[in-house]
C-alpha cells in the first residue's frame, strides 16, 4: 500500500513528474471548479501553498470547511490531499523540509502564523492516522493521555468519566470494558483504530482530521468505523482523506477532488459523483486513473 504520510524523495519526484505530464495534457487545473465556500464555515483556507524544499506539493488551494459536516478529500496517490490535511493542525511542522504558505483561519485566527501555539491548536483539531497507532500503554491510558496533558480532568472520577464517555462514543466500550488495563496494541486492527478515534474524542476537539483511517482495515472493521464517522458528525466537523471513492460517497456531505497538488473540484458529494464538472474529476470517478 502506498503510504502518503511518508514524504520520500520518490514521492516528491513523482509529484513533479506528474506536473510535467500534465502540462503536456494541457488541462487547466489551477482554477478550482465548484463552490469552495459554505454558509457557516469552521475553517477557511486561503491560498495555501506547501513546499518540500524547492518542490511544490500544494498549489494555491482555497476551501471552506463547514460546521458539523464531513468533508471527504479524494484524489490519486501523491495528489497532496494528505499534505493539505496535515496543514490543518500543523502536523507538517514535524517534517523538516516542509514549508507552508497562505492562511488557514480557525475561528478568525490564522493558525499558520508563526506565533500560533500548536499545542492547543492540535487539541482543538485532532487527528486520526492512516495506520492505527495506539500508544504501547493500556487501553485506559491511551484514552486518558490527552485529557491528562491538557489538564481536562480535575480528579480521577472526572478522568474516568471522560475515558468511559469517549470509549462509549467510539462504540468501543462494550468490547473493552473488562480489559481496560490490557495494552492497546492487543486489540484487533479495527478496534485499534476506534481506540485512536476515542483517544482523539477524549480531548473534545472541534475538528477531527482523518487520514485514510480505514486503509489498513478489513471490510467489516471499515464498516464499523464508517458508521462511527457518520454518528460523530453530530458533534464534530470531520475532514477525511480517503482512497476509496465509495467511502467518500457513503460518509461525506461534501467532496473535494485533488490532483497534483491542486484542488480541482469541490462540491456536494452527490453532485461530484453523479455530475462532475471537471474533466479530470470525471476521469477519476469513472476509474480511468487513480
Amino acid at each position: 500500500m502506498y503510504n502518503e504520510n511518508l514524504i520520500t524523495e520518490e514521492n516528491i519526484e513523482m509529484i513533479n513528474e506528474n506536473f510535467i505530464e500534465d502540462e503536456q495534457l494541457k488541462i487547466d487545473i489551477s482554477e478550482t471548479v465548484g463552490d469552495i465556500h459554505v454558509e457557516d464555515p469552521r475553517i477557511i483556507a486561503k491560498n495555501v501553498n506547501v513546499f518540500y524544499g524547492e518542490k511544490i506539493a500544494i498549489n494555491n488551494v482555497s476551501i471552506d470547511i463547514g460546521k458539523n459536516e464531513v468533508l471527504a478529500m479524494i484524489g490519486p496517490s501523491g495528489c497532496g490531499k494528505s499534505t493539505f490535511l496535515r496543514c490543518l493542525n500543523r502536523m507538517n511542522d514535524t517534517i523538516e523540509s516542509c514549508k507552508v504558505q497562505g492562511e488557514i483561519y480557525l475561528d478568525n485566527k490564522n493558525i499558520l502564523e508563526k506565533k500560533t501555539d500548536v499545542v492547543p491548536l492540535r487539541a482543538r483539531v485532532g487527528m486520526v492516522f492512516q495506520k492505527p497507532n495506539p500508544f504501547p500503554k493500556s487501553i485506559y491510558d491511551n484514552v486518558a493521555y490527552g485529557p491528562k496533558i491538557h489538564g481536562l480532568a480535575k480528579n480521577k472520577t472526572e478522568l474516568d468519566e471522560i475515558v468511559f464517555n469517549s470509549l462509549e462514543r467510539a462504540g468501543l466500550l462494550a468490547e473493552v470494558k473488562d480489559r481496560l488495563n490490557s495494552p492497546g496494541t492487543s486489540l484487533s486492527g479495527g478496534q485499534q483504530q476506534r481506540l485512536c478515534i476515542a483517544r482523539t474524542i477524549a480531548v473534545s476537539p472541534e475538528v477531527i482530521l482523518m487520514d485514510e483511517p480505514c486503509s489498513a482495515l478489513d471490510p467489516i472493521a471499515t464498516a464499523k468505523v464508517e458508521q462511527l464517522i457518520y454518528e460523530l458528525k453530530e458533534n464534530f466537523t470531520i475532514v477525511i482523506v480517503t482512497h476509496a471513492m465509495q467511502q467518500a460517497a457513503r460518509v461525506s456531505q461534501r467532496t473535494a477532488y485533488f490532483h497534483l497538488g491542486n484542488l480541482v473540484e469541490v462540491g456536494a458529494t452527490e453532485k461530484i459523483f453523479t455530475t462532475p464538472q471537471h474533466k479530470l474529476t470525471e476521469s477519476y470517478i469513472t476509474g480511468r486513473f487513480g
Partner: protein, 419 residues
C-alpha cells in the same frame, strides 16, 4: 569442459579458505578458554590442614584477665607451632623445625587471633581447627608439583613429602572450597590472596561510571536524535566529537585523567572515584551511539499520535518515545558497562595499580580493579598466582558473560515489543 572443472575446483578451494578461517578463529577461542580454565579451575579449592589447637592459658593469658586488649599481644604463632609439633613429633634441629612450620600458611595465627577475639572464653580449651596450608603444599596436593620429579626440581623436598604423607594418612589435610579467594584482598602469599578488594574497587568505579554516563549519555542521545536542529554546525561538531571519542585509544583517557583529574583538580591517586570518572568518559560514546539507534527504531507513528493529540514535542518524546526506547538504551548501557569492567589501561595510568591488601571502604580509598588485579598477578611467576590469575579471569568472564547475555536478552525482548 576441462576449464569448467578447474573453475569448480577453485570454487571449492575458495570456500575451504572461508571455512578454514572460521575454524581458526573458533579454535583460537577454544584454546583460549581451555587454557584458562585448565590453569584456573583448581584455584576454586584450597588446601587446609587440621590442627589440634590448644588455646593455652599460659601463652595467651597468663594473668587470667580475659581482656582482649591484653590477650591480643600474646604469641599466637606459638599455638600453631605447638599443634604442628603435636601431629608430627620428633623433628629435631632449627632448620628442620622451620621447614616443618612452613607447611602451614602464615595466616594460621591470624585465624586463631580472630577466633579468640570473637570468643574470649575459648581460652583454655582445645579445639581441632582447619587452617590454610602453605601455597607450595597447596600446589602439591592439587598436583601442580609432581611428586615423581627429581628432588632438586621440586619446591617440596623429600622430607616435606614425608610429612605431608603423614598428614594424608591421618586424613587431616583436605581440599575445601576456596573461601579466601572471594573474601580477601591482595597478598604477597598466594594462598592468602583474594579478589574481593579488586571486585569492590571495580564495583565502586562502575557505580560512578553508571551514575554519570547513563543519564548524560541518554540526555545526549535524546537531544541529538529528537531536538537538535538539523544542519547546524555546532551539532555536527558534537557528532564528530562523539564518533572520535569512540575511536580514541583507551590509554589516552588515562592521560586525560592523570592531567586533569589528578593534577589539575587534585583528586586522590588510585581512587575508584577517578577510575569511575575516566571510565564514564570512555563509555559515553558507546551509550550515546546505541541509545540513538534505539530512539531511531521507535516507529514515528507513536510520536505522531501524541503530537496529533496536542502533546508538545518534549511531552511526546519523554512520555512516548523514550519509554519505548528505554530497553534498547539499557542494552547499550550494559554493553558499555561490560567494556568498562574489562578495561585496564586507563586505570593503570591513574594509579589504580598498586599492591593493596585492604578492602576499599569508600570511593576515595586506594583500590585496584579486577582486570588490574589480573595484570598484577599475571606478572608474578609463582605457580600459585598463575592459578589465581586464571581464576580471577574466569570470575571476570562470568560477569561479562552475564552482562552480555542480559543485554542480548533485553535486545531480543525489545525487538519483539516494537514489532
Amino acid at each position: 569442459m576441462n576449464n569448467l572443472k578447474s573453475r569448480q575446483a577453485k570454487e571449492k578451494r575458495f570456500q575451504l579458505y572461508g571455512i578454514f578461517s572460521i575454524l581458526i578463529a573458533l579454535s583460537l577461542l577454544i584454546i583460549l578458554f581451555v587454557s584458562i580454565v585448565s590453569q584456573g579451575y583448581t584455584a576454586f579449592k584450597e588446601t587446609r590442614i587440621q590442627l589440634p589447637i590448644n588455646f593455652n592459658e599460659e601463652i595467651l593469658d597468663p594473668n587470667n584477665t580475659k581482656d582482649w586488649n591484653i590477650v591480643k599481644k600474646a604469641n599466637f604463632n606459638k599455638l600453631v607451632k605447638n599443634a604442628v609439633d603435636e601431629i608430627i613429633p620428633g623433628v629435631e634441629g632449627r632448620g628442620n623445625k622451620r621447614k616443618l612450620y612452613k607447611l602451614i600458611s602464615s595466616s594460621a595465627e591470624y585465624k586463631l587471633r580472630d577466633l579468640v577475639e570473637e570468643n574470649i572464653e575459648i581460652i583454655g580449651t582445645k579445639e581441632k581447627i582447619w587452617v590454610l596450608a602453605d601455597d607450595d603444599v597447596d600446589m602439591l596436593i592439587k598436583g601442580h608439583i609432581k611428586r615423581d620429579l627429581p628432588e632438586s626440581e621440586r619446591r617440596i623436598d623429600n622430607q616435606e613429602l614425608q610429612w605431608i604423607a603423614i598428614l594424608e594418612s591421618k586424613k587431616i589435610i583436605k581440599k575445601f572450597f576456596n573461601k579466601t579467594l572471594f573474601t580477601k584482598g591482595d597478598s604477597a602469599e598466594s594462598e592468602q590472596s583474594g579478589i574481593l578488594g579488586a571486585l569492590i574497587g571495580s564495583l565502586f568505579a562502575l557505580t560512578i561510571t553508571l551514575v554519570l554516563s547513563f543519564p548524560i549519555g541518554i540526555a545526549t542521545a535524546v537531544y541529538l536524535e529528537e531536538f537538535a536542529p538539523k544542519n547546524n554546525k555546532f551539532i555536527d561538531f558534537v557528532e564528530v566529537n562523539i564518533n572520535n571519542l569512540a575511536a580514541i585509544p583507551s590509554i589516552i583517557f588515562g592521560l586525560l585523567g592523570l592531567a586533569i583529574f589528578l593534577n589539575f583538580f587534585g583528586m586522590p591517586r588510585s581512587a575508584p572515584l577517578v577510575g569511575g570518572l575516566v571510565l564514564s568518559l570512555m563509555t559515553l560514546p558507546t551509550i550515546i551511539i546505541s541509545s540513538r539507534a534505539a530512539l531511531k527504531s521507535v516507529p514515528p507513528s507513536i510520536k505522531e499520535g501524541a503530537l496529533g493529540l496536542g502533546a508538545s514535542n518534549v511531552q511526546a518524546v519523554f512520555q512516548h518515545v523514550v519509554p519505548v526506547a528505554l530497553p534498547g538504551m539499557f542494552t547499550g548501557t550494559i554493553i558499555g558497562m561490560a567494556q568498562a569492567l574489562g578495561e585496564s589501561a586507563p586505570l593503570l595510568i591513574i594509579g589504580m595499580v598498586a599492591f593493596i591488601v585492604d578492602i576499599p571502604q569508600t570511593m576515595t580509598d586506594p583500590a585496584t580493579a579486577l582486570p588490574i588485579q589480573i595484570y598484577l598477578w599475571a606478572d608474578t611467576p609463582e605457580r600459585g598466582f598463575v592459578e589465581r590469575t586464571s581464576a580471577a579471569i574466569m570470575v571476570l568472564l562470568v560477569f561479562l558473560v552475564f552482562m552480555n547475555s542480559l543485554a542480548v536478552y533485553l535486545r531480543k525482548k525489545y525487538e519483539k515489543d516494537i514489532n
